[in-house]
């Protein structure tokens, strides 16, 4: 077996494929396959596709083929946008659940500043973007797929990067101490009272 089998699988799959699922499939025809090999092939394919109109990316913990984002303008002519719009309350509810998940009704209510958050919650439940657990509401794999997120940790990392780009110069001395000393020295005068 070689990596073209993985490539073919990715091509036909309708959902992101997890490495363990791929291993299970390829093992049926070739007993010698294992996770290390599949993962290596996957990364090789990913590199080979990097410059093409189709990319291989990771979403919701699996791998999938998607069109390159720079081709969007062209594709859009053939296939108009297909996603439904989400309301402001839907985004707010999702954000509360992402930040505090599992989040109970009261938490969502507090963040959103509304007394009755149920409508928005209900709509998200119907669309399978969130689900109910004993500890509260959590986001689902459908959410990850629709937002192109691999896992929620990645989302927090991304946010840190954004924060660093858009760093508030007035941020506390405590935080700055951890960062580069040069910067701290420059700002120390400002902070002295």
């Amino acid at each position: 077996m070689d990596k073209k089998h993985i490539e073919a699988l990715l091509f036909v799959a309708k959902e992101p494929l997890k490495i363990e699922d791929i291993v299970k499939i390829v093992k049926e025809t070739d007993e010698s396959m294992d996770e290390t090999i599949v993962l290596r092939w996957m990364f090789e394919l990913q590199n080979e596709y990097a410059e093409r109109g189709i990319h291989i990316r990771q979403v919701a913990g699996g791998f999938e083929m998607v069109t390159a984002d720079e081709c969007f303008d062209t594709i859009e002519k053939l296939l108009p946008k297909q996603y439904d719009r989400l309301s402001r309350s839907a985004f707010e509810t999702l954000a509360a659940i992402v930040v505090k998940g599992p989040a109970i009704r009261a938490t969502i209510s507090k963040f959103r500043g509304v007394k009755n958050p149920d409508d928005a919650i209900q709509k998200l439940l119907e669309r399978n973007l969130i689900k109910h657990t004993e500890e509260g509401y959590v986001t689902t794999d459908v959410f990850l797929k629709e937002f192109g997120i691999n896992d929620l940790k990645e989302l927090k990392e991304l946010k840190k990067e954004l924060e660093l780009l858009d760093k508030n110069p007035e941020s506390s001395e405590e935080v700055e101490e951890v960062e580069e000393t040069k910067e701290t020295e420059e700002k120390q005068n400002e902070h002295h009272e």
Partner: protein, 243 residues
């Protein structure tokens, strides 16, 4: 007073507080409680004057601020917990929430740029045809007709001259007859319709038949079909009256 901000848009006390802190260019980790409490209370007053509902949450936050302010005045032993800590945590959480809302919007916007196999199925629920499909077909046909008509100068005049020649009852009969033999493709059927009035009447007849449970709507390969129900209460009723 330039630190007073547009009041209507606040989603809650934390939202208001965060905005006031930003306006003062204060550091969340080093809040000047007495200043921010003053700003906050002034804002609440403004809200009352502007007839904006100051909910219990806003009052609760005010009392928390006053409590912290009072605690700050009492000299405490070193290393003791800063009375502001609880509030700071709340503000940071809230700030994170606000940022996440924006971030999710950006992510979703960006995600739409990726196309993949069968993405449609993920979003659209599969259904056997509904009234929405009929409405959509109707709109499609209508827009097509309208576009053609725009180019013909006499069409508008003719349309105005056309009188109401059609009744819902006639249309229902016509549809019933057609349905005796075969299913009806909605798009085809409507494409034979000439005028706006006729279209309205035909559509009304269609809805009436659905309401009377005479027909079923069937969605096949993006096409809407009408089929006759096996036995319908209406039909039975009619047979009785006829017999």
């Amino acid at each position: 007073m330039d630190y007073i901000i547009k009041l209507e848009n606040f989603e809650g006390p934390l939202d208001l507080l965060l905005e006031l802190i930003k306006k003062r260019e204060m550091d969340i980790y080093n809040l000047q409680i007495s200043q921010i409490t003053k700003d906050y209370l002034t804002s609440l007053e403004e809200m009352k004057t502007a007839n904006i509902d100051v909910t219990a949450d806003f009052i609760e936050m005010a009392s928390l601020l006053l409590e912290i302010k009072a605690k700050m005045l009492i000299p405490v032993e070193v290393e003791k917990d800063d009375p502001r800590n609880g509030l700071v945590k709340q503000l940071l959480d809230y700030q994170e929430y606000k940022e996440t809302v924006v971030q999710l919007k950006i992510l979703r916007e960006f995600e739409q740029k990726f196309y993949k196999r069968q993405k449609k199925d993920v979003v659209r629920k599969e259904k056997n045809g509904s009234i929405q499909d009929i409405i959509r077909s109707y709109k499609d046909i209508f827009t097509k007709k309208f576009k053609v008509k725009e180019n013909k100068p006499f069409d508008k005049l003719r349309e105005e001259l056309t009188k109401f020649k059609f009744t819902i009852e006639d249309r229902m009969e016509h549809l019933k007859q057609l349905l005796q033999t075969d299913q009806v493709n909605v798009a085809d059927y409507f494409s034979q319709v000439e005028t706006k009035e006729e279209m309205v009447v035909t559509f009304g007849a269609l809805l009436e038949l659905v309401k009377l449970q005479y027909i079923d709507i069937l969605l096949e390969e993006e096409q809407v079909f009408l089929i006759k129900k096996e036995t319908t209460p209406v039909e039975l009723e009619e047979e009785e009256t006829n017999g």
